[in-house]
Symmetry: D2
Subunit: 457 residues, 4 copies
């Protein structure tokens, strides 16, 4: 019996048992918010597992029908009514201070666990419970900026999700034209980098011999990809997205390809933000492709540079990057990409600026500015090439003046690169990229705005 069959069977059982044990009719009490709190309380005190599942199912059902305000109230209820028992925690803390033994530390640990963690665990017993919890966190995250108090609730989500979505539980599945439609429609929906416009467009990403797509799945969410990676098999490191996705390209025979190009990676579940598995995905795919195609020698990305323009504008204001203003002026007009002179001019100015953006510039927290770069550097990739005019779409023209870059995954270096990156050492980059930086000696005068720490580079 497959998992999803069990789920649906349990769901039927559930509604039967719910009615049976709880004398709950199909109608639901009027005052949802108070009602849902009562059910949560009841769930925590329930000792029978059948009634527990039934109650959990009722809570899920109530929540689905809540409006915006109701959902906000639900989150605050989680914060206020299902936190720690302060008296118990206070007492446990005092006792531990008196006698710091292992057993009292364990009691302190128990006392410091907010009640909502137990609530979440019990909610996870019901079919669809985990999906529900992911949705609730998605809702929470969307409110966090305006309602930072909810952060304490998020801590508990992160604690449990890190355990439940442990890499050990995930399975890697290939997505292709043999994949069920119920999953494919989610690939269309969740693609976040280069939009998939139709099922025909989707087929072009999955079906040709030189295309691959892989996703991670969790056993309790069999129809929901968590994250997916789109791959093109090529015979060279690509410099632009349009030729890569062109319908009219001659497909490369997989056995004759030499490069695997990761041109899109998309997280599917907002409610799992920060629960990291992208790094595992890329490395697992590198391993699998290497085994399947010994002919593939290079594993690279073709990646966007989403913050480039925004950074450049800021630097131009501060006059900290030479040429920034010129570049911005040149790209002011709408169709600058069509103007040969402009492109020529940019070809002269942009490389050094782009190299600076990746290798030198840092944000206020001392981090590499580009989030995509942070992700790949953090995974141990190196910067292989900067491609001018790599993406001529409106979005890329706005965000990155058309820039795209290739990151390289070389398994024998990733670990070392990763550790160096975490320690704040020099960014790993191909010599040709590094060579784009203005010469060091004279540069010190021309790039005064660098943080002091950089001089140690």
């Amino acid at each position: 019996m497959g998992g999803s069959k069990v789920l649906s069977d349990l769901l039927q059982t559930l509604s039967r048992l719910g009615n049976q044990f709880l004398a709950l009719g199909p109608s639901v009490p009027e005052d949802e918010a108070r009602s849902i709190e009562r059910w949560c309380t009841r769930l925590l005190s329930s000792t029978g597992e059948a009634s527990g599942m039934a109650i959990a199912g009722i809570i899920v059902e109530h929540w689905r029908r809540l409006n915006e305000d109701g959902r906000r109230d639900f989150l605050h209820m989680l914060k206020d009514r299902f936190g720690v028992d302060r008296d118990r925690l206070f007492a446990a803390a005092e006792k531990y201070i008196e006698d710091p033994s292992d057993l009292l530390a364990a009691e302190l640990h128990r006392a410091a666990e907010p009640e909502r963690q137990d609530l979440f665990r019990r909610l996870n017993l019901t079919p669809g419970g985990i999906d529900f919890l992911v949705r609730v966190r998605e809702d929470l995250l969307s409110r966090l900026a305006d309602d930072p108090e909810l952060h304490v609730v998020d801590i508990d989500f992160v604690h449990l999700f890190s355990s439940w979505f442990n890499r050990g539980f995930l399975t890697l599945e290939r997505i292709d034209w043999n994949t069920p439609a119920i999953i494919l429609e989610k690939i269309i929906r969740y693609e976040a980098v280069h939009e998939i416009t139709s099922w025909d467009d989707l087929r072009l990403r999955l079906h040709p011999e030189d295309r691959r797509c892989y996703a991670f799945f969790h056993p309790q969410l069999p129809d929901e990809p968590l994250i997916f990676l789109e791959v093109a098999l090529t015979r060279e490191m690509p410099s632009g997205i349009a030729p890569l996705l062109s319908e009219s390209r001659p497909p490369v025979r997989a056995e004759e390809s030499t490069h695997a190009v990761f041109y899109s990676i998309s997280n599917c579940q907002q409610g799992l933000r920060g629960i990291s598995f992208g790094n595992f995905l890329i490395k697992q795919v590198v391993e699998d492709l290497r085994r399947e195609f010994p002919n593939i020698r290079e594993f690279v990305t073709l990646s966007p540079v989403p913050r480039f323009t925004a950074w450049l504008k800021q630097e131009a204001l501060q006059e900290s990057v030479p040429g920034a203003e010129d570049v911005l002026r040149l790209t002011e007009r709408e169709n600058w990409m069509g103007d040969e002179n402009v492109r020529e001019e940019l070809s002269r100015l942009l490389p050094a600026i782009a190299a600076h953006y990746f290798l030198v510039a840092r944000n206020a927290r001392g981090q590499v500015i580009d989030p995509v770069a942070r992700f790949h550097f953090g995974n141990g990739a190196s910067l292989a090439r900067i491609n001018l005019f790599g993406d001529l779409s409106v979005k890329a023209a706005q965000n990155a003046l058309g820039l795209m870059v290739n990151y390289r995954y070389d398994l024998k270096d990733v670990e070392k690169n990763h550790e160096r990156f975490v320690l704040g050492a020099e960014i790993a980059a191909a010599p040709a990229v590094r060579g784009l930086l203005p010469a060091r000696r004279s540069g010190s005068a021309r790039m005064p705005a660098l943080p002091a720490g950089e001089s140690s580079e």
Copy 2:
């Protein structure tokens, strides 16, 4: 790609990566104990996931080669070197006492978490990691009686296993003659109630139309049943095990059966003791069978009474149960079961004693004495019938003077029964069973050893 394929692929990757990143040759350092501690420390400080998986794999490999003393040392190392950071916890406790806010409670919760929980989570990243942790806990439990200090380590196992083996993750699978041999051989090995003597014997438990077997599986342990339940479909509530398992019985057509008899339930993983899923299993199977065979009206067990003789001997010493000494004297000789007179005598004496054992007698902690009874009463079953001479095997003659009982699972009552049992109310039993008790009024004098609480019955 199936999960187990992924695991084995990862394992290959792992050994490659392990050698690559860690410069670890196939040979292993001499001083295993110190070495394994160093690897654990390194795992906790590792920031790269590939090296993390490689290190976890190395730890697993080391542990496998440890001898008895090495494994004991390993557990004590977990206790001593990977507990809480006392200074940090002390400070966090003090801060919370000063300002009992939610955020400081969260910090206190983090500080109170022993480092080994993080270690266990990281070990679970490696293929085979969860299996390893279950084995380690199995080892721990076997030492707990002699080495009670290890209990604080077990607290962490229980905390994490309760999350990882949450009912929501488990799948129910039917075990039959179409099941892979790699699973079936474990059914033979783990059967704990009525031994399976051979593959032919196994086939008799699985293959006939009137036999069923169900097990829970965890997605990370696809070849390891966690617990399984053997079922016979019959046309009456059985009173003895031999006819039920007789090879020569005429098989009942499943569509014509009226009773589902749970005659054996076995936990497979010692390392998951106390992580309860038996109750879910029985109820899920009741639901599934009910859906498949509307003709089945009764769901009952045929269960052993493992502590009966031991209890009786104790009571005989205390002269608290009338007839105890007579019964023990009658069953002193080896072949008492073959003696018609003895059986006649026992038929007169045993029923009241047995009813007393289940319904009235309690151990020092106020619990029902029989662990099997506690399990089924705790699940909400009721005591349907007491069967004299239900099991004539040597083991049952020794443990229970041949007694077997039927517990009844009536879904509409289980929740109520469960809650009443938890609250310490009267045991649910069929009137005929209750009627076996000595009459109430005169009884008060004859059963003086009952705890006071029982008088409220």
Copy 3:
């Protein structure tokens, strides 16, 4: 290892072996037609199975590259060069006439088998061979009208396909939103009754709770549905297609439905025309739905009437059906469906004519005129209702003046109905339908307008 994996593996082996054994380079001789004949001859004389598979693969590859004329020549080559050995057959016939023994009959049977049957069997050994043969027959059927000589080749296709596509080999699969896209795109393409306009439209046919779709598959063509049936679960017998397919309808809960409506059945493989499995499909689906939903009481179709207008025009010419001319005149204008008066008029005239069309009218070969009706009556269905204005699409307005009908599948009657239909007895129809016929008594000479041939009914 799944079948399709084996196929692709074999395919790889094949090309390797082909080159190895046959010293065949990737280039192919110029004169394809002569070349393909040589390969066919070589295939028939080949004694090694590896070379046999390689040669078969080469033939398939050659044929794919043939143009129209090349394919016609290929068929004629099958007819002329790979027929029976006339001398051998002549001799065998003479011998049998002399001595009509069983063994000589067996020899005669062998001698009478055209060599191309053996050729087809050997071609079927290669992966993709059966698909190739189905395509070749598709090509043959498209030429048969102009080139009737090819009929003798078709006899051999029918002989082998009847064996290979025997019902016993087919598997029934449910098609739903969990079905792989590679199959779903074929459902879109092959839907022959009510066009599926997009993937969204497809989802509406498969995904809602009150929709089902089933198809037959052959193990050697795992991605190719042979025939599929679309079903709506409803609470009444529907009278028109638009409300049935309306996006905005409230979906019926499957457990509360009372009718299963077969509103579309489509053959997918032109090359399997005449190899009947439609009847098996409907009855198997009736059985499966009956088991799954005991609440479904009625199994009916909502079917088009594709030949109605054509027949009516013919009858109007012959003045054999009263009212035919009136009807045709009323429906002359393009938008007659929007004219309330016309519809009123038609409501008066059409029922009797339609009843006559189904129950009385016959074509020159004495058959019921409507091919859809012939199919369902042949399967044992009865005519349940005639629906005026059931389909307002342009196609249905042209072909059937908007008529649709319901056929009823009542399993307890289908066998009897089928046999009566085959024997030429009265068509099975609901009394209300039969009552639409002009009154029996007043019908002087019963049906004065009927063609003479009908009187023999």
Copy 4:
């Protein structure tokens, strides 16, 4: 829905429909033989497919209950009552002689087809039909020697089975410790070369890293292997069976093996005798292993020599093979294998005789004498080595004086070897084997009894 589910569902439907349409109660008429003929006649004239399936099911059920005589009568009934229509065939033969056209040839072909072929096709419609037909042929083959008239019936079985068990329909599956027990128990039962004595013994053949087993399956017989091949991965060409199967051997790591040894191939279905797929199986396995383990360089068998002793005795009588009498005398005593002197003597005498047996000796029909040799030579293998004392079991001592041989499958030669073997050319053998033959010139005197045909060698 899986195939076997469909089958069992259909079976249920069937019995329902059978009772419904045919008014057949559970009881069965007394006179089975006459009754079964009536049902066969009815099946042939049935026009409805539901009743057809029901009738086919009834025939299968009747046959199962027939005793030996009943089954013999059934076969004769097939021969006598369901052969060709002689009058029709006679007429068709005459017509063809008059006008030998393609269409009349087709009609002659139809007329020459015995009615039982149609009967068999219709029986195949019922679930379990193909299994039934295989059993019936098994029964037929067991009677053929005593009842040669039945050969004409067998011709029809072979004709249809060749079509239904076409290689294109078969799937290759790996058999290992993950295979369902229902299949594994058949591996135990059908192993025909080296007996599998228990499930533990079976595990030793399937589970270790250096063991493989593969089988062909037919989609309609999912639980019935048709033929299977056992493989050992080794580091040298083995010379005896005992070390190969020794429990205590150190297992070879699959990646380090250099030889794949086919040490057992067993047909499972007597009823499919002569429907060849063994050659496909070996070559497919060679291909698969070659792909999986590029390290494997040699594919050889370790094979028995079942007819050696019988042949030797015959030759000794005719005094045609020098040394035959000596050898037989030496091996007369029961424990000759334990006698060092005997073994030494045999080591001197046997090689030349064994080489003669394989390379020179022929039976009355001019064939190689050993059936195992015929099979492998026919597949294109060559004789790689003769191993004295390769199998010390009682059976092998009796049949082959302990001889075993290795045949080599070298894919680049198999086709050529096969064709040469079919044409009667010299047997392919390693030079070392050929060198065991007595020298040619002087040999003519020493081996006078060779058939003349050999001189052309």
